[in-house]
Each structure stands twice: as structure tokens, then as C-alpha cells.
Amino acid sequence: MNRRELLRTSLFGAAGAAAAAAHEFPANYDESKELARAEWKPAFFSDHQNQTVILLSDVIIPETDTPGAKTALVNRFLDLLLAAETHDAQQSFLNSLAYLDGEARSRYGNALIYLPQETQVELLKFFAYPNSLETWGEGQTADQAGHNHFQNIKDWIARVFYSSEAGMKALGWNGEPPHGALTGCEPKRA
């Protein structure tokens, strides 16, 4: 390339709009507050899908001595994230959701959110433990497809929950930046 070409490039270059500024987050930057706003509406999920996600998140990660996925608004962040995701990722999630809801309809005659809580748990157990005593004992074949769909939904919910403030605290986070002194192997091996 000669100088002339370079000068041409400099005349016609368009990418120069790229900023030279630092990439900073303002003080007190916290996007999670957005999710909690009162007038929130799903952008990606239908109302029924949204209700189903809320239910599944609550059964998979319930409130115990620490808050659960429902309080952490896992459905709202999932809605935000999936809206921006690739078509494949969106479809994969919706397929798994539809599969579990479809199984609820075919086995119990109603969508997941309308079933009694014991029935919801019973159905999820069936998919969560495809090779449990229940299924083996009765000679049933493990439902691998159902297990995979359950895992898919569970993985998304767990990822989103444990990246929330409530989820981090459920892991024992004290709210401070992590730090400490490396003390090595103390106490010794149990």
C-alpha cells in the first residue's frame, strides 16, 4: 500500500466514528433495578409462558432459609436475555418449556400452572431423575428427552438465579468485594 492509497482511505474511511473514550460504568451503575419496576411486562414471553417460567423457577429454586428464584425475578431477566439471544437459543428454551407443559397436559389434563403443587413436583421429579427407583421399579423406560428438556430449563434458571444478587447471597456472599489472605491448607485434611 502506498501513501496515496492511505490518504484515500483517510478521506473515505467511515469507521472513524468509533469513540476514543474510555469504556466506563457510571458510579452506582446497577441494571438489576430496571427489572423490579412496577409496570414491567414481558418482551419475549407470552403471558402464559411467563407464568410457567415463574412457576418452574419457584419449584426448581424455592425460597428456603434464603430467597428463591421467584423473588429474584428470574423470569424477568430470562425474558430480557432471551429477547436478545439467537433464534436457536430462543427456540431451544421455548421447545423445552412447551415440552414440559405438553407433558402436563397429556398426563394430567391441564397446563403446569393449573396443576396442584404436588402434581407439579411429581411431574418434575419424573424428568429430573429419569433412572430413579420409581421408574426402574416399575420397569418404565427412562425418558431421556424429557430429562434433557428439564435440564435445559433448569440450567437457564440456575444460571440466572445464581447471577442475581439474591442468588449470590444464597451462595453466602456478604455483599462486599471478595478478598482475604491466602492461608494455605488449614485445617489439615479431614
Partner: protein, 560 residues
């Protein structure tokens, strides 16, 4: 800089402000030389650091699907995150090509400091097993320097950078000037003892450019964890806040960010460089800078690209290419071989609150040493990085309260992943792609590299050996992997302007000076003759210091 005067003739232009460029600028300016330090990226500010910011505050909690739109290649780097992806190049503006069946992942930053902002910080010396590998097994070439030549410069680099580590008195991995080592976990202590007892191999704590005590005005690490998001206490080594800062402080070095160097200019009718032409990243204007010496520290691929885009006195493309070897012999450590498992019997629980030691263990090379058995299926060797410790068990089975408890209880993981030597094959090469330019109109690279049978055999051996060691530690659920990752994934690009004494078989001399052009230097990974299996940055820094000291002597004798 307000008073930037780029019309003067500098003593030296340094291209690139990362690990080696920072050192070159520091060394030369502290010796009183006038230096222009050109960096293709923008400046960086500590106000961009986010190491203490929890992910939930980010719009996509560090799961952003947006990054991939501008950084489909960079996204493959473990360190390219929603927090800092802006430091990485925009792949759309910075294209390169590969043959369809030979993917290469080129991970890079354009910002003051370059990859030192996000590097893995592992810092190891090479030994004569590496420098004289040809003499040992007959493959490739020996380096023109030996360990004794480089050892004093390793000392200088280590004393300044601050490398924590433990002495092991192992000839394959020479000891250095270390700050106190970081502590091993209980599992790692057990692993170290067990592996020594059963196999005789040495496990040591990673030697790492992180401060375990206050050092040279920088504070000791507080173990928050995610170094690649910046460090407000500068406890890991990054050039903007150390070498580059020192260089600018001398008053002799002008840092010019947003300067995308296109090519080296020649002194009319002479076999000497007159300086460089760069394109301003923002305005796209081409500018010239003049200097008595041009020092390329842009990383192996970029430095070689600049040479290939420059013309010789005879008008042919490729400055310094009379050997025909410029661009040939690209190396990147082979990875992918290793094993993971769970180590029963250790009760420690994972913690969100730290300390989080962003360092692991290192298993020192034990294959094909100077003495002892030699492998039949491959030459050279590998080391492992790994570790053992408690981790949250997000993959626990089931759901409900039991699942929550299982996640918090965690599991005690153990893992080892190999970094294997990558041989220099002359047909692993880079060239200018005649049909491809970057956003600044500068011809882009075509990169053609594959790992071969030797690398594959080595990773297979590394996978089996790792599984054997884990088994000897009583690990359960051992998973083996031996698939060689695609070239570029180790982010250790080396070679393509190799050093040597013979101008017919090498591109630079032992002080990184082009054989063909007396005032042009390639002082980064480009000059490596062989790759060893050690993480190369410390060696690059030592080579740069040595080459700069030689250049300073030549300046004193008025030979430049």
C-alpha cells in the same frame, strides 16, 4: 498529549505498548533516548476497571448475547466479557483470513497495555532444554542464545515485574527471583505429595506476575479474583501502570495512542528504515513518524504483518525477508489434553467472599528430558496448569431445597490441562491476503496453521498421564480429554521472524535486529526459534531487555 511533537526524528519508534513494547520504551527512554511509543488502540484508565463489580449490575449479567455481533472471534477468549469486551478488537474492523479447513483463533486487544490487561500472568523461564532443543533431538534449529545469555535479563524482568513462585531446583524449569509463593490448597498439597511419590513428577504453585507482597510501589494482591477486569491496586503486572508509566515519566517517551502502524518507511536509496507510517484510528489520516531505529513489539502476527506490508530497497514486498522465512514457522502451544475429576475427603466449602486465588498449580515438564527415557511417539514435552479446590456444584442433580443445599455444599474439584510445545513447521505460515484490508485500509493477514501429529500425540499422552495422576490421588468421576484445541486458542503466537546467526536460515540476529536492515527490530514473540511449553511472556520481556541493552550500547557508540 497536548505538546506531542511528532515531527522530530526520534531515536526509536516502538510499535505496541504491551508486555514487550512497554519494556522497550522504558529501557530506551531511561537510557536517555527519545522514544515514540505508538499504540493502535486507545488509552486506558483505571476508571474502567470492574473487578469488584458483581455481574448482576450489568445489563446482561456477563451473559451478553451482543458481544458476539462485533467480536465473534474475540468472544472465544475466556477473558472477553461483558465487562471489558471493548478492550478487545472489533473483529469486523480487524479481519484476517484462513484456509477453510484451517481455522485459527486470533485473540487480541488494541488498547494501551495490549494483552497485559487480561493475560493469564503465568511466568516461566525457558531452559537450555528449550534453547538447544535441536541439539537434543535434531528437529528445527537451536536458538542463537543460551540460558546463560538470557538469565541476567530474566532477573531484571522478574525483579521489576514481581513474580511470585517457589524454587524447585528443576533443570527443565529454572528458578527465578521470586516473591513469596501463593499457598497451595489442601487438595493440591496432597496432589503434589502423591504425584511425587508415585510418578516422581514435580507440582509447584503457578509462577505468576501477581504480587504476594508490596513491590515497587504496587500493593500486594487482595485476592478478589477476576484479574482480567483490571486491578485497582495494580497487583498483577500490566504495562500501562508500570513500564509505560515509567517510560513516559522520563520525559523522553511520547505515548501516541490510536496510531495504527501500516508499514515501515525506507531511507531513500538506502537499506535503512526512516520511520513508520501510521493511520490515525479516529480520523483515518495517514501520518509519518521518523526515527533512527524502528522496534516492532506489536505481537508476533502484527509485527510480521507490518514487515510484510513494507517494501525493500529493491521494491519487493516483505522487509527483512531475504531468507524467505519471514512469516514462516508460526507456533502456538497445543492445548486440550488433560483430565478433571472430584477429590473425595476434603471438607472445605466454596466461598463467595474470598480469598480467590487466581492462580493454579503447575506440573513441570517430565517428558523427553535431557536424560532419562525418550518418548517414541513425540519429541519435546508439555507442562500442565491445574488445581484442586472446592467449587459450587451448579450441576447437582434434582431441584428444590435439596438442589439449593447441594449447590452450596459444593464439590472438591481437581483438574489438569496441558500446554504442549508446538513445533515450528515452515508451512505453518502467514502472508498478506491480497484481497483483504482492515478498516484503516491496511492489508490484512492470511494465517495458515494446523497442529500436526507430534502435537496430537503429545496431547493424547498428556490426557492419559493426567488421568493416571488423578487416579493416583484417589479422584473420582475422572473425565479425560485429548482433543487438540484449534491453533490460536493458547494465545501464545510465536515464531515467524525467528532469530539466528545465519541470515539464510533466520530473519533476525540474536538481538532481534533484522539481518537485512540494520535499524529494524522484532522484539516480541516473532523472534522465537522454538516454543518450549512454557507460557512465553516472561521470556519475551527478557529478550526485549537484552536486545534493548545491546541497542543502547550501539547508540552510545554512534552505530545506529
Amino acid at each position: 498529549m497536548a505538546d506531542t511533537n511528532l515531527s522530530q526524528t526520534f531515536d526509536a519508534i516502538v510499535v505496541g505498548s504491551g508486555a514487550t513494547g512497554g519494556w522497550a520504551a522504558k529501557r530506551l527512554s531511561e537510557a536517555g533516548l527519545n522514544v515514540a511509543l505508538l499504540e493502535a488502540g486507545r488509552n486506558i484508565s483505571p476508571s474502567e476497571f470492574t473487578e469488584h463489580m458483581p455481574a448482576y449490575k450489568l445489563h446482561f449479567r456477563d451473559m451478553s448475547p451482543e458481544i458476539v455481533k462485533t467480536r465473534p472471534i474475540q468472544k472465544q477468549c475466556y477473558a472477553c466479557m461483558e465487562y471489558n469486551y471493548d478492550w478487545f478488537v472489533n473483529d469486523l474492523e480487524n479481519p484476517y483470513s484462513t484456509p477453510k479447513d484451517k481455522p485459527f483463533t486470533w485473540q487480541r486487544l488494541r488498547i494501551v497495555g495490549g494483552r497485559t490487561m487480561v493475560w493469564g500472568r503465568q511466568s516461566y523461564r525457558l531452559s537450555d532444554l528449550d534453547f538447544k532443543a535441536y541439539s537434543h533431538d535434531g528437529y528445527g534449529q537451536d536458538w542463537p542464545i543460551s540460558y546463560a545469555d538470557l538469565s541476567p535479563y530474566y532477573d531484571i524482568a522478574e525483579d521489576y515485574v514481581g513474580i511470585s513462585g517457589a524454587k524447585e531446583n528443576n533443570p527443565a524449569l529454572p528458578d527465578g527471583h521470586f516473591l513469596p509463593p501463593m499457598a497451595l490448597t489442601c487438595g493440591e498439597e496432597y496432589m503434589r505429595d502423591q504425584v511425587k511419590k508415585v510418578f516422581g513428577h514435580t507440582i509447584t504453585i503457578g509462577r505468576v506476575a501477581m504480587l504476594t507482597q508490596n513491590h515497587n510501589g504496587r500493593a500486594a494482591c487482595h485476592y478478589c479474583g477476576p484479574c482480567e477486569r483490571g486491578c485497582i491496586t495494580n497487583s498483577y503486572f500490566s504495562s500501562p501502570f508500570t513500564t509505560v508509566k515509567d517510560a513516559v515519566k522520563t520525559g523522553k517517551c511520547i505515548l501516541v495512542p490510536n496510531a495504527v502502524v501500516a508499514h515501515i518507511n525506507r531511507e531513500k536509496g538506502e537499506n535503512r528504515a526512516a520511520g513508520v507510517t501510521y493511520v490515525d484510528r479516529i480520523t483515518h489520516q495517514a501520518k509519518e513518524v521518523k526515527a533512527k531505529a524502528v522496534i516492532l513489539c506489536a505481537q508476533a502476527l502484527e509485527s510480521t504483518r507490518i514487515l510484510l506490508n513494507s517494501t525493500t530497497r529493491e521494491g519487493s514486498a516483505g522487509l527483512g525477508n531475504s531468507s524467505g522465512l519471514l512469516g514462516r514457522g508460526l507456533m502456538d502451544h497445543a492445548t486440550g489434553g488433560g483430565a478433571t475429576g472430584e477429590l473425595p475427603g476434603f471438607e472445605e466449602r466454596p466461598s463467595m467472599n474470598g480469598p480467590h486465588r487466581s492462580n493454579g498449580i503447575y506440573v513441570i515438564r517430565f517428558r523427553n528430558l535431557l536424560t532419562g527415557p525418550q518418548q517414541k511417539r513425540f519429541i519435546r514435552g508439555y507442562g500442565y496448569q491445574g488445581g484442586a479446590g472446592p467449587q459450587f456444584d451448579f450441576g447437582a442433580a434434582g431441584f428444590g431445597a435439596g438442589y439449593k443445599q447441594a449447590v452450596v455444599r459444593g464439590s472438591y474439584g481437581i483438574s489438569m490441562g496441558a500446554f504442549g510445545e508446538s513445533l515450528a513447521y515452515d508451512d505453518n505460515f502467514v502472508a498478506i491476503d491480497p484481497n483483504l484490508k482492515d478498516a484503516w485500509g491496511i492489508p490484512a493477514l492470511h494465517i495458515s496453521m494446523t497442529h500436526r501429529d507430534n502435537e496430537k500425540a503429545m496431547q493424547e499422552d498428556a490426557a492419559v498421564a493426567a488421568a493416571e495422576m488423578l487416579e493416583a490421588c484417589g479422584a473420582r468421576n475422572i473425565q479425560i480429554s485429548s482433543r487438540v484445541a484449534e491453533p490460536g486458542m493458547a494465545i501464545h503466537e510465536l515464531g515467524i521472524a525467528r532469530m539466528g546467526d545465519n541470515p539464510k536460515t533466520s530473519v533476525t540476529d540474536a538481538w532481534c535486529q533484522l539481518h537485512d536492515v540494520p535499524n529494524v527490530f522484532a522484539m516480541d514473540g516473532a523472534c522465537f526459534v522454538s516454543s518450549g511449553c512454557q507460557n512465553p511472556t516472561l521470556t519475551m520481556m527478557a529478550i526485549t531487555v537484552r536486545a534493548c541493552d545491546h541497542l543502547i550500547e550501539r547508540f552510545k557508540r554512534n552505530e545506529v
